[in-house]
């Protein structure tokens, strides 16, 4: 058995007869973090919707290990670009929803969800409703909810975009720690090149119209101080030139 967890083969998809993404083939390996970069509107979210099975592509297939999951939702953890917290559920229930969906008893699910609130800097908001929270707090709650999907692959669409530098790096650290502990594999969309450099093992750059993966950058394994090396400056230049 290979160590590839998620594979997309020749994905093409259109909206209103116009191709949005074309011939996208990618694979994600176990415990890998890949970031997806690309200008606004290039098709990143569309690709995620296809990988998550929410949208069936016009052509192409998606596999989880060897199992085809094209157009089948529910196999991967997916954080949508909007936070999509339900205004009619408390924060606790919103975050606990994936557990409840998986059949966990409501009280237990709440307890489990609630136990992560402090780590995410939203302790005390359990009984509040989403409308009472700040944008960044809502984004963190959505991330926590995604984590509780508990799948082995996570697709995160701009998970840290509403966070300040401090909160963001706390979340980064938490994420890397969790990733390794639960052997999670991740693809995430970001517009922050530093974030991509810091977090990822590989970077996919999507460009063109229709959008394709035009470049893949493999980053060196160890990242301590990598962001300050000449290597990284080279890579930054490369990324910007492709975009």
């Amino acid at each position: 058995m290979s160590d590839t967890v998620l594979t997309a083969k020749q994905i093409t998809h259109s909206y209103e007869k116009e191709n949005i993404i074309e011939d996208v083939s990618v694979h994600l390996k176990k415990e890998e973090i890949v970031s997806l970069l690309g200008v606004s509107g290039v098709g990143k979210t569309t690709l995620f919707q296809i990988l998550s099975g929410l949208v069936r592509p016009d052509s192409g297939q998606v596999y989880l290990h060897e199992q085809e999951i094209t157009g089948q939702a529910g196999h991967v953890s997916y954080m949508l670009q909007k936070d999509l917290l339900m205004p009619y559920h408390t924060m606790e229930d919103n975050v606990a929803m994936p557990l409840i969906i998986q059949g966990m008893k409501k009280s237990e699910a709440r307890k489990k969800a609630s136990s992560y609130f402090a780590e995410f800097g939203i302790e005390g908001t359990q009984r509040q409703y989403p409308s009472q929270l700040s944008g960044g707090m809502r984004q963190r709650a959505a991330l926590l909810r995604t984590y509780l999907f508990g799948k082995e692959v996570a697709l995160l669409d701009e998970p840290f975009s509403a966070l300040d530098a401090i909160t963001k790096s706390e979340m980064h650290r938490w994420y890397l720690e969790v990733m390794h502990r639960i052997r999670l594999s991740t693809i995430f969309v970001t517009h922050d090149i530093e974030e991509a450099l810091f977090l990822s093992d590989r970077i996919w750059i999507m460009a063109g119209h229709p959008g394709r993966i035009v470049k893949e950058i493999v980053l060196p394994k160890k990242k301590e101080d990598f962001l300050l090396t000449n290597d990284s400056i080279e890579i930054r230049r490369e990324i910007l030139s492709v975009l």
């Binding site: 919707q49 998550s52 099975g53 929410l54 939702a73 529910g74 196999h75 991967v76 997916y78 949508l80 909007k82 999509l84 339900m86 205004p87 009619y88 559920h89 929803m97 994936p98 409840i100 969906i101 998986q102 509040q128 409703y129 409308s131 009472q132 999907f149």
Partner: protein, 229 residues
């Protein structure tokens, strides 16, 4: 000659109150029948309206087949089905309850259908991504998102339920406010007629008020909305 309301048809408030007090035990006896019919009819009608809406929302074929039938049930005048209902169900509460059900289920179905149709598609996506089954999407997302429309339908149904039972009682029966009403009307006792109308309105308002309370409890998140202006 034409007054706004002819004096002989407009009893004084005092005589209405007197009539109410005088006939109080009688009115309460009749009211009990009517309220029981209305509440049972409303409860079953709500459940039925709910079921219809859920099935119609979920199965396109069911929707197409059922929508005309649902409309038709509302367009057949009571008198046309009344003899059949009495034929099948007798003179006791059953036919009145059925008529209240027919009245009550419709606004609920329409309200819920509209609610389901306007549910946020992205929220549905999120739940599908979580691997939620249709029933779970319904329970944890569509239903709470649609509670507002549900209550708006239920308000309409509730407002009709008491008077619906009263009108149904005119078809024939042993007691109920409708029976009382017809009798005092035929006796030209306008004071009693007004008294019973006021009673019907009062019971209806009470029911609506109760619904408002229930809605407040079931939709706690509405409280937290900031009020504009």
């Amino acid at each position: 000659m034409l007054e706004i309301v002819p004096h002989y048809m407009l009893p004084s408030p005092v005589s209405v109150v007197q009539a109410f007090i005088e006939d109080f035990p009688l009115l309460m006896g009749h009211a009990k029948t009517t309220v029981v019919e209305a509440l049972i009819g409303l409860a079953i009608g709500t459940a039925l309206g709910f079921l219809c809406a859920v099935l119609m929302n979920h199965f396109k074929g069911f929707y197409k087949a059922f929508y005309p039938i649902v409309v038709i049930t509302q367009t057949i005048p009571t008198v046309a089905i009344a003899p059949l209902l009495i034929l099948w169900l007798g003179y006791a509460m059953a036919p009145k309850i059925v008529l209240v059900i027919i009245t009550a289920f419709f606004p609920i179905t329409i309200g819920l259908l509209e609610g389901f149709a306007s549910v946020d598609r992205e929220a549905v996506s999120l739940f599908r991504a979580m691997g939620a089954k249709p029933m779970q999407i319904f329970r944890y997302m569509k239903m709470p998102a649609t509670l507002g429309e549900f209550f708006s339908g239920l308000r309409i149904s509730a407002a009709y339920s008491i008077v619906g039972a009263v009108v149904a009682e005119w078809l024939g029966g042993y007691n109920g406010l409708g029976v009382y009403m017809m009798r005092v009307k035929k006796s030209y006792s306008y004071d009693k007629m007004f008294a019973v109308i006021v009673l019907i309105s009062a019971i209806s308002l009470l029911l609506m008020w109760g619904l408002g309370r229930v809605q407040k409890v079931l939709m706690p998140w509405e409280k937290t909305k900031k009020h504009e202006e």
